[in-house]
């Protein structure tokens, strides 16, 4: 433990009764509750907190909160290790452990700081110029070195042990920002009865008021306001919550850091919460951030923004330096200068403006400060910490320095180049920011109806004005939500907060160097300097968007919050244009980095996406099924017996079906109830073949086309009564077919009286296949006549099985005598079990989708791998199904010239010339013996081992189709380096006459 040399004996908003121990780069330190890692390190006299991205220059804290570009650290260990956290955002907790980044071997002694010696080589565009040559592949050679030499922290590769949560919230008025304007807005809207949510990214409410001395007017205003807001049940205050994105129609993305201020989340606590918030109105009171001024070596530890130094002083009672130079071009830095002097620092103020009011001069003198109007800090001395500042007479209009130079020994240089309203969330909604010369800054443009801007974020920098402005915004927002109650007025603000600017800002974008040494940094995080902007200009980059990409300015974790406007103004000056003529980049979400874990929320692991289970799923699990995914469904793939792999299992299962009887769960088929007086006519238009003439109690195989004439889906549809049909679709296309039918009924033929409804989940479905299937169903107790006469092929009959309602559809996908049994889902397992029990004498086997597919391939039935969205009826040899007597969807466009081309890919069967060779799905078909070129003649769509034939068989799509019957082709499978000669044969490998269908 160390003492805290820079901690003042009194003051600040820290809790001195709660000391906290923490570690940085392995060393132990002490701080207090209310510290950030940055303030605690400063209190301990640690200024060096990181190394810069490219040049590995020593860096300390420069800005406050989310704007910090330099002091990025890696927090925690193991699966919780998280890189690139600004030390200014890391709240101190007992045992906090942080390490610095981008250095080797240590922060104090970094070998990679040799890069700083090669600054002229490592200028903007270094990648593009150097690594694109001398020949292709150069980048691949350079990349590992560059990645190691430049960069940020490294993420963990371990699984994240924490939980995250997503929440949908709604409100009338969202207030973005918990500073004086935001609090006043929430107060007005809350008093009027609006449902208000206020989001503040920092742990405490108050914003810039917290930079005021503790116990002063800021606190006096804050206390009653917070008490009243807390008492309003319609106001919800979210701290540690960042509004990172503004989206259409009043939708916002927020992230709440629920437990990041502790070592680990508590039991049952999410680490972060991702909130999607929909608001009728939003008050944007995001405040303004101070920006710097580039001068020579303005990145040395000890150089920081004036408001940042003031924040450390008044929030955490940390005096970052006892000898301070304040360099400013505006009145906003003076409160920092006065507070530093009051805390005992010797303060010199260099103000770029040549003429200052007598009042300012008098107050500086009273405070014991030296004031140098018309001066600038031209450079600082010191490497790992500031030792002196070089002050020179300065002409703000030309940025030129000249005249007698003074060197002042100091530890702290406070800079203020002006204030940038946080226009991000307005810009994200495509509102162009507007330049204001009087504050030398962009403010949000005219807001869309649902957004109201207030306070410093629209350029109202005086605290009193911000409060009034915020109150007005909150009142207007609530009123536009229909709230009419009088909000009264906002409390008195107090004299000393009247920090309005008495003297206009003098825009200063850089300080010309006194000599050639010393880099002047614009973007500290990306090591982009004034000379890089000048280089980009010389090389012809005129667009600010190109400047950004060429120099990397404004990228990475801070997104250039302290740099963007300075760079833009420099570019404007170089090109002889005004700042608004030069433009600004468009801000996109997120405002600050958002953890992917928060966006994923609870949807990880088995909740990554929902799993669909059939009504028979539990039985499959109990009986050892291996499952496979089909869309969201889990389907039994095969049921292995001891020692069996998938190949052995499916061959056994399909052999049992061919020999005796097997049973497969087909509940995943899409099922659609089609009802109404015009149902038959509707199906006639939907399917290529006729259905209006289908008798009640019969089913028919049908194919439907898309409007463009290609096949959409196939399946069977049964007529249950004159006006009631039961359609099945493939598992994969169920939702698409239902949407297609609904669209046709609503948009194309609203005059048809037909209703369609998905009944996929209503019915369990199982297919019983094999020569003994009829006997099995009878043995299971089906109370109906199963003879060929009573229930012929394609017949449909209701029945009861074991007293449970069911319906038999005599249909066959396998080519064997087969039945599909439909029963209400909640009875599915009971019916299945009854069949299993009755099946023992027949050697019944349950079979999975591997055997299901193998059986259909052997029979030559097409499925999803042939109906692939590119094939026509004729391609699959099904052209004769199309009715000539009626129109149907796709009936016209199927005759397009390209779809009639005889050389289209068409369905064939394949067998290997050498019967011992395996055929592979997806193999490319090439001319036998070569040449093997490109996509060849077609591809294999499906393969299986055929127990009947004793070798593999395959279905394939080949140009010219069955015109190639008997021809030899090479099936090429480059993944295994296989070339298998195959012969083209008819795509029916068993029972081409269909004799087995009757058992």
């Amino acid at each position: 433990m160390s003492r805290q040399p820079n901690r003042l004996a009194a003051g600040g908003h820290i809790d001195r009764s709660r000391p906290l121990a923490f570690r940085f780069d392995g060393r132990s330190y002490a701080g207090f509750a209310g510290d950030t890692l940055a303030s605690a390190l400063l209190a301990n006299g640690v200024l060096l907190m990181g190394r810069s991205f490219k040049f590995h220059r020593p860096r300390g804290v420069f800005a406050a909160g989310v704007a910090e570009p330099n002091a990025l650290v890696t927090l925690r260990d193991g699966g919780r290790r998280e890189p690139n956290i600004p030390a200014t955002m890391a709240e101190l907790y007992e045992g906090l452990s942080a390490v610095s980044q981008n250095r080797f071997p240590s922060l104090g002694f970094d070998l990679m700081s040799v890069n700083d010696r090669f600054r002229p080589v490592l200028a903007a565009g270094f990648y593009y110029k150097t690594l694109m040559g001398p020949r292709r592949g150069s980048w691949m050679w350079f990349e590992p070195f560059v990645r190691r030499a430049a960069g940020l922290g490294a993420a963990t590769e371990l699984a994240d042990p924490d939980a995250y949560e997503k929440l949908d919230l709604f409100c009338d008025v969202l207030v973005i920002g918990g500073g004086p304007a935001g609090l006043a807005a929430a107060l007005a809207a809350g008093r009027m009865g609006a449902r208000v949510i206020l989001a503040e990214q920092m742990p405490s409410l108050g914003g810039s008021l917290l930079d005021e001395p503790a116990g002063g007017p800021g606190d006096l205003w804050l206390a009653p306001v917070l008490a009243e807001l807390g008492s309003l049940p319609n106001v919800r205050l979210l701290t540690r919550t960042t509004v990172f994105g503004a989206y259409d129609h009043g939708t916002f993305g927020l992230v709440e850091r629920v437990a990041d201020h502790r070592a680990a989340p508590g039991p049952g606590e999410p680490r972060q919460r991702y909130i999607v918030l929909r608001a009728q109105r939003a008050v944007l009171a995001a405040g303004a951030l101070e920006r710097g001024i580039p001068f020579a070596d303005n990145d040395r530890p000890g150089v920081m923004l004036a408001s940042t130094a003031r924040g450390f002083l008044n929030r955490q009672a940390v005096l970052p330096g006892r000898q301070a130079v304040v360099f400013t071009n505006n009145d906003g830095a003076y409160p920092a200068a006065f507070d530093l002097a009051r805390a005992g620092a010797r303060v010199t103020v260099a103000d770029a403006r040549p003429a200052l009011p007598a009042e300012t001069i008098r107050r500086c003198a009273e405070a014991g400060m030296e004031l140098l109007p018309g001066h600038a800090v031209a450079a600082v001395h010191g490497r790992s910490r500031v030792r002196a500042a070089v002050l020179a007479p300065f002409d703000a209009s030309s940025a030129a320095t000249g005249g007698p130079v003074r060197e002042i020994a100091c530890e702290l240089v406070c800079v203020s180049g002006g204030w940038d309203p946080q226009v991000h969330l307005s810009s994200q909604r495509s509102v162009k920011p507007i330049w204001r010369d009087d504050i030398a800054a962009f403010v949000p443009g005219p807001p869309p109806a649902f957004q109201i801007h207030a306070g410093a974020c629209r350029g109202s920098f005086a605290t009193g004005d911000s409060i009034t402005d915020g109150f007005r915004a909150g009142r207007d927002a609530a009123a536009s939500c229909g709230r009419t109650r009088d909000p009264g007025s906002v409390g008195d603000i107090g004299e000393s907060l009247g920090d309005a600017w008495a003297t206009p800002i003098a825009p200063v974008w850089d300080v010309k160097p006194l000599n050639r040494s010393g880099k002047r940094f614009v973007d500290l995080q990306n090591d982009v300097s004034v000379s890089d902007v000048e280089l980009a200009h010389r090389e012809g980059y005129v667009s600010v968007e190109h400047l950004k990409r060429y120099t990397t300015l404004g990228m990475a974790t801070d997104q250039g919050k302290t740099a963007n406007v300075v760079a833009l103004a420099l570019m404007a000056r170089l090109s002889g244009r005004s700042v608004p003529e030069t433009g600004t980049t468009t801000y996109r979400p997120p405002y600050t980095p958002v953890a992917i874990g928060a966006l994923a929320a609870a949807e990880t692991g088995r909740n990554f996406r929902p799993i669909r289970r059939t009504p028979l799923h539990a039985w499959h699990e109990r009986n050892g099924a291996v499952f496979t995914e089909a869309g969201l469904w889990l389907r039994p793939w095969y049921y292995p017996q001891p020692g069996e792999d998938v190949d052995a299992a499916y061959r056994r299962e399909m052999a049992a079906v061919r020999r005796s009887v097997g049973m497969v769960d087909i509940s995943t088929l899409g099922k659609i109830d089609v009802q109404g007086p015009d149902a038959g006519a509707f199906l006639d238009r939907v399917y290529v073949n006729g259905f209006a003439s289908l008798p009640v109690g019969k089913a028919r195989y049908g194919i439907m086309l898309r409007e463009d004439g290609l096949i959409l889906d196939d399946g069977t549809t049964a007529r249950l009564s004159e006006q009631h049909f039961f359609m099945t679709t493939t598992t994969a296309e169920a939702a698409k077919v239902l949407a297609h039918l609904e669209w046709l009924l609503q948009a194309a033929w609203p005059e048809l009286r037909v209703h369609v409804a998905s009944v996929t989940d209503q019915w369990a479905a199982m297919a019983v296949s094999g020569p003994n299937s009829r006997k099995l169903i009878a043995a299971a107790g089906a109370d109906t006549d199963l003879s060929n006469e009573a229930l012929p092929h394609l017949g449909v009959r209701p029945c009861r099985i074991g007293g449970l309602p069911a319906r038999l559809h005599r249909l066959s996908f396998s080519g064997e005598l087969a039945y599909e049994i439909y029963t209400p889902a909640g009875f599915g397992e009971a019916v299945w079990q009854r069949l299993v029990d009755a099946g023992e004498p027949f050697g019944l086997v349950p079979y999975g989708v591997e055997a299901l597919a193998a059986l259909r391939i052997e029979k030559g039935h097409v499925a999803g791998s042939e109906i692939d969205g590119r094939t026509t009826l004729d391609d699959l040899g099904l052209g004769r199904m199309a009715s000539r007597r009626k129109p149907f969807v796709g009936g016209v466009l199927r005759h397009r010239e390209a779809l009639l081309d005889e050389d289209r890919l068409q369905l064939v069967g394949l067998e290997p010339v050498d019967g011992t060779r395996r055929l592979r799905g997806g193999a490319i078909l090439q001319p036998h013996g070569g040449p093997h070129r490109g996509h060849g003649l077609g591809h294999v769509t499906a393969t299986t081992y055929s127990p009947e034939r004793g070798h593999y068989v395959a279905l394939a799509l080949v140009t010219g189709g069955m015109r190639r019957e008997g021809e030899l082709l090479d099936a090429c499978f480059p993944l295994n380096d296989e070339i298998t000669p195959v012969r083209v044969i008819a795509p029916r490998f068993i029972d081409p006459e269909g004799r087995r269908l009757d058992g």
């Binding site: 929909r278 609870a602 397992e829």
Partner: protein, 186 residues
Amino acid sequence: MAEIRSALPDAGPLRAADVSIAETAGRDLVQLAAWPESFAAVGMRLAELLACPMPADTRTASARGDVTVFQVGPERLWIAGPADGGLGDRLSRAFDPGEAAITALGHSRTVLRIEGAAAAALLARGVAIDLDPLAFPAGSFAQTRLHHTSVLLHRTGGTSFDLYVPRSLALAVWDWLGATLRTFRG
């Protein structure tokens, strides 16, 4: 009537502070879909048959006793009632197929009852609907999404909701609710 097997494991309700989730077994669900010209007359006869008024709009269910009626689309109603009430048969007998199409859906949905002071706060973890009592008062229903699943959410009382989940996804939604409860503090 044979027992309808639940899609959920027999593990009892899920509980956390101020909220519990349990399956409501024994509910039937029937869809009645009529035509533009027959819907009004069908509605009047249906109200008589069920002794339950028709819903006034597509956002509010009407309920009487153990019967609830939702209008889920143009000329399309869902009628929920007790499973042993022969609801589907009664409706099929009462309406000619030319007047209305009756579709049994009782086995297609698992009904979850979510109740307790924190029920709305829990649902806000997955449902993108404003569940404030002013925006979604008792009696309101919505066809919405929870965990990528199309569900019907019905507020049966101030702190009580029924969730109609497709049976095939019921266990996935149940698991998701269980996982969500693990980090739920109300």
